[in-house]
Each structure stands twice: as C-alpha cells, then as structure tokens.
C-alpha cells in the first residue's frame, strides 16, 4: 500500500526540480541575449575603439 506521505515527497521534489529548471533557463537565455547584443554592438561601425572592450566594465 502506498504511503500517505508519498505525494508530499513527490510534490516537494517536483517543485524543486521545476524551479531549478526555470532558473537555469532564465540564466541561459539572459546570457544568450547578452552575447547577441554584444555581437550586434560589435558590428555597428562606431567611431570608438572596440579592441579596448576586453577589460571594460
């Protein structure tokens, strides 16, 4: 017979996994959008020195 606590354990682990998955997806999408934005900026023919961006903050 199944323990009455089984669904509570299942709910807790599912909620944790799902929340961590959402957080990972958000962090990855954020990183990808940053890379895309940096790429777009580098392609703009600006009059400033892009080669100096390595140590820029």
């Amino acid at each position: 017979m199944m323990s009455p606590y089984f669904f509570y354990v299942l709910a807790a682990y599912s909620v944790t996994g799902f929340s961590l998955l959402i957080l990972s997806i958000i962090l990855i999408l954020d990183y990808k959008s940053c890379l895309r934005e940096e790429e777009e900026l580098s392609q703009i023919d600006g009059s400033f020195d892009h080669s100096a961006k390595k140590d820029m903050m």
Binding site: Y5, Y8, V9, T16, Y31, F48, M57
Partner: protein, 252 residues
C-alpha cells in the same frame, strides 16, 4: 624591509574582469560536473534512506528543504559581504556579485519556503504558521525581492550600487534572527539538529544523504552564481560600449 611574497594568492587580482572571466571559464565546467555528481549521489542516498519512525517517508523532504534553507542564508551573507566590498574596498566586482546573487538567492529561498510548506502540511496539519522562524525567512525572501527591484529600477547600473549595498548590510540583521529564532521564541518549527553545542542530533542514515545533498546544492548554487556573474560582466561591458558610442556621437 619586508616584502609581500610575489607568489601569494591575491584576492584583488580578481578585480580585473578579464582575469575573473578566465577563472570562470576554467572552473565552471568542473563545478557543474561535481554539482551533478553529488546531486545524483545525494538523490540515490535520499531515496534509499530508511523511513523515519515518526515522519515516515516525509523525512525525505528534509534532504532538499534544509540545504535550500542553508543556502538562502549563506547567499544573503555573501551579498552583505559584497556590500562591504562596494562600500569599503570599492571592489569593481562586488556590486556585480551582489546583483548576481540576489535573484539566485531569492529562488533558493522561495524553494526553501515552498518545500517547508509541503513538509509542514503532513507534520503540523497546516501549510503555514506565522511563527518566528517562518516569518523571518519570509522576511528574507522579501528583502531579496526588494534588492532585485532596487537594482533594476535605475537606468545607470552604477547608481544602484551604494543603496543596494546599504540595504544588504542593514538586512543582514535578519540572518542571526533566522538562526536563533527557534531558541529565542517558542516556535512550531523544530530547533537546530546539526549545528548545536551538544553535537549532532541526526542519525547517520539521514545525516549522510543530507550532507551529500547539501554539498551538491552548494556546488549548484556556485555554478549558477559564476555563470550569472559572467552574464553580468558582459552586460556591464555592453552598457559601457553603448555609453562610449553615445559619447563619441555627442563629442566627435
């Protein structure tokens, strides 16, 4: 005349974003690998642990709830330390560290609260009570949200550095309150079982999975943190590039 050893590990060398990014690139894959390894091992140990004589199967919620509660407090302490770094040492990465840790800490605190509610229902007969421990952790969650809102409400990211640092430092008072709330007040939440002066009060069959899961989640937290730090450094560079581009258009 004494000289500093040239080979000594220097914390401030990481104030250079380029060096810090190289550090992240080198260590992040290993960190992710070990996080997944310890979490897999921890999950296996959690589900093969014997049922508790009182709590039965529901004791397995402890293996996720407790590490998330630890990390929620650790993350906020890290943010307060970053706040000190901003205000005292003016470390260029301290502000980024604070801003990076806030959403991750908020998520971990949210999971700690949620798994706590799910555990409370079969054990206490209610999802939530406004006792000292639960209320102080909820307050911690609200402070995380407040810092996230504050850091995103300025157009210039540098302007939010000092107010966020001050709020993080002021809010740090909540961390000892959370820790000692179960000793100072009568709470429904059980007192500490691990970090006690009279020794650990958990049987090794539960302690070992708990520690392995704790290690795995700490490594996962640092993986998220370093990954997000890389994004924040890139974002700051983009802001700076846009600023320089605007300046060069304004003053050719």
């Amino acid at each position: 005349m004494s000289k500093l050893p040239v080979t000594s590990w220097n914390f401030f060398k990481f104030s250079n974003p380029g060096i810090f990014l190289r550090f992240i690139d080198r260590f992040l894959p290993w960190l992710c690998f070990f996080a997944l390894f310890f979490l897999s091992l921890g999950l296996y140990l959690s589900f093969t642990a014997p049922p508790d004589y009182q709590q039965e199967l529901s004791v397995r919620i402890m293996f996720i709830h407790v590490p998330f509660a630890w990390i929620s407090m650790f993350c906020y302490s890290m943010m307060a330390f970053s706040g000190l770094g901003t205000l005292i040492w003016r470390h260029p990465l301290a502000d980024l560290s604070l801003k990076t840790a806030a959403p991750i800490g908020a998520t971990f605190t949210f999971i700690a609260l949620l798994t706590g509610c799910i555990w409370a229902k079969p054990m206490w007969g209610t999802w939530w009570v406004w006792d000292a421990r639960l209320t102080s952790v909820f307050l911690l969650f609200l402070m995380y949200l407040g810092i996230i809102v504050l850091t995103r409400s300025f157009d210039d990211p540098l302007k939010s550095a000092r107010p966020a640092a001050v709020i993080a430092l002021v809010g740090f008072i909540d961390i000892p309150v959370i820790k000692f709330s179960v000793d100072w007040w009568n709470t429904l939440h059980q007192p500490a079982s691990l970090f006690r002066l009279d020794g650990v009060r958990i049987h090794s069959s539960f302690l070992i999975p708990l520690m392995v899961m704790g290690l795995g989640f700490f490594l996962l937290f640092f993986s998220f943190y370093l990954f997000s730090m890389r994004t924040q450094i890139l974002r700051r560079r983009i802001y700076r590039m846009r600023f320089l581009a605007a300046m060069s258009e304004e003053f050719p």
